[in-house]
Symmetry: C2
Subunit: 80 residues, 2 copies
Amino acid sequence: MSKSTLKPTLRKNFAENVRSFRTQLGISQEGLAELAGFHRTYVSQVERCVANVTIDNIEKLAHALNIRPAALLELPTIRD
Amino acid sequence: MSKSTLKPTLRKNFAENVRSFRTQLGISQEGLAELAGFHRTYVSQVERCVANVTIDNIEKLAHALNIRPAALLELPTIRD
């Protein structure tokens, strides 16, 4: 069995999805951080792919954005 | 804006999905851990909801299970 050789891209998809759903709601990074119960700079770290987000925090972000958590891991689509 | 009050359930869905896809492939927890490049007990911790899995590790597990990462966060379905 071979070890996993993988170029991490999921953080990037996640970051784009968070930004896209957030801007659709018309809220700031700080506003989303507060809604989800995070430090005000956390969403900025997520959207810059700096944070290695945990599943508990994915759940909180999805809850704050009012979407299914799985939607945040899908390939980003161009949204109007 | 109210802080997020949320009963964490995503870990449970994720654990059930990992177990379900893993058993469909007919591989052990240790076998999946090795495929994904983890310590041999890590998948056991995931399936018992002990590990607060990061997005990078979700990507590695999905890659090892050969499925879309988002599929691991969907509501578990009863699979034959």
